[in-house]
Symmetry: C2
Subunit: 318 residues, 2 copies
């Protein structure tokens, strides 16, 4: 066991979060900056500050960051990151390694969250599971034989409807276009515009374009038919995505995380009902569909675990 | 290296094929029986005959069979096998082990083919690839970091169209319902019934219900518009399935095998064109889409490799 700290965190479209973590996955200190126009400078400022906070004579054995985007993990290159300025095409691993001279790991954010749940969360008792991150977009990560698969797992960008609407990624009928928070909000607004009655119409003094997924869920809990229908339809689409992944990866568990977990009673329950009708019964009967236990920290903890793993390999000369 | 033979083969809805194979994956002898009503007896007869043909003082170190169905590899149980009588629910590994007392491995047929292509075929130079078996149904197998993933990989039974036709598996809009040989034949027959002009109408003295996928491809090569359109549409659907798997598994290669490979010029080319429009460009640009090099022997060779691997582990006391 390496008696060290590592610096781990995640880089999203809005914020960069960085933490100093020990080998027991305890977060010793935690910092945040807005991502902004120059995310690399913001990232370096955060890492510098965390280096300054390392207690006594202990050292930082490595650095790991989860990135919202498609990551080539072997090289540490961000192949595509639509929401982070100047990140697409960047070899982030090289940039960090050049400046700090330690082991560096870069992963996709949902993949990191999957590994976090494996080492210290809801996935710790399973060898084979998938994670789905349900927020403005839909991400995924796959763990097989206790190891994070080094694959894109871009489950949100798989077609569930051949001639569906065009997604930001260029594809038609992506899961994300039906089941994400963005899709839920878009569907509610479009129904209100069409004149479908709803208590949501009066939200924000009639400026219903400001609606959030949480507003819609609250209205649904009050019995608003439009809100309920929008969440149920999104949940059904999610259920198709879950069934597809069950038939592909035959997991022991599907772990769900992200902002939309708050809408479990309508959205997630509709998803589970739909998945139960679509997946092979022999596979569905073996799956547990459960919430994440680490929440927002899953990615950070996953990156820490990946860094410690690599640092141990390096120390052992592997 | 184990200086032994193994017995490997595959069990499908129509035939059981069994071979005696050496550690260089050379097929020493090969037998076949129809699957029939009692596939276990047929299987035992084949294995007995191969045991009888082992030369000199050499031994059989293990037995492995690929099965058309969903297999729980850890236990060797066939969870579901619609086309093989009395196989659903059977612990085939136990049945074989009890009778022959050697290492036994059971896998899904497409998974076995994937591993065969890895050890001795078109996948040998790739660490990460998927295989798609294109025949009456559509199967899949996934290799990551040079290892066969122990997952269902039932790619044919993932939804590509939310409200599509009901599949034999119970789901709606499965890839298999659009892109398999069964789908191609069904679509051609249904168009002829509706009166769409085609040279296929006169096949089999007008009994066009006997059409095969090969007939349809031959008609397409002669320029028959119906045949061309049916194959192109099926190819487009296959392209959606390929794009989904590229976005999930970010492979270096997609290896295609099965009877429909014969229709490469129309069906597969349409699939590649569709996948290129739907997958993330950053991932599609790294993928090679290529035919299998082992063809029908891929599953048998894959099973042999899995058996030798296990036999070596056992010999080494792992």
């Amino acid at each position: 066991m390496i008696e060290h700290f590592c610096i781990a965190g995640d880089i999203g479209g809005t914020n960069i979060r960085a933490s100093l973590i020990d080998t027991e996955y305890r977060i010793v200190s935690k910092l945040k900056e807005t991502t902004g126009d120059n995310p690399l400078s913001a990232l370096f400022r955060l890492i510098d500050r965390l280096y300054g906070s390392v207690p006594g004579d202990l050292a930082v054995c490595g650095i790991g960051f989860a990135v919202a985007g498609i990551v080539e993990t072997s090289s540490g290159t961000i192949l595509r990151s639509p929401n982070i300025r100047n990140f697409s095409g960047l070899n982030l691993k090289e940039e960090i390694q050049r400046r700090y001279g330690v082991v560096v790991r870069i992963e996709n954010d949902a993949n990191a969250a999957a590994f976090g749940e494996k080492v210290a969360g809801a996935g710790s008792t399973f060898s084979n599971f998938i994670i789905l991150t349900l927020g403005t977009g839909i991400g995924g990560g796959i763990v097989v034989n206790g190891r994070l698969l080094p694959v894109a797992a871009e489950i949100g960008h798989t077609t569930v409807n051949t001639s569906g609407p065009q997604c930001g990624c260029g594809n038609l009928g992506c899961l994300e276009s039906y089941a994400s928070a963005t899709a839920i909000i878009g569907s509610a607004i479009s129904s209100i515009e069409k004149g479908v009655p709803s208590i949501l119409r009066n939200s924000y003094n009639g400026n219903f374009y400001k609606l959030t997924a949480e507003n819609i869920y609250m209205a649904a809990l009050e019995g608003d038919p439009l809100a309920r229908s929008v969440l149920r339809e999104a949940g059904k689409a999610l259920g198709i995505g879950i069934a597809n992944m069950i038939n592909i990866t035959s997991p022991e568990a599907v772990i769900l995380t992200g902002g939309l977990l708050g809408a479990w009673k309508i959205y997630i329950e509709a998803a589970i009902a739909e998945a139960s009708k679509r997946a092979f019964p022999e596979l569905f009967s073996k799956v547990r569909i459960i919430p994440s236990s680490l929440g927002d920290d899953a990615g950070t903890i996953g990156m820490a675990a990946l860094v410690f793993e690599k640092a141990e390999e390096c120390a052992a000369g592997i």
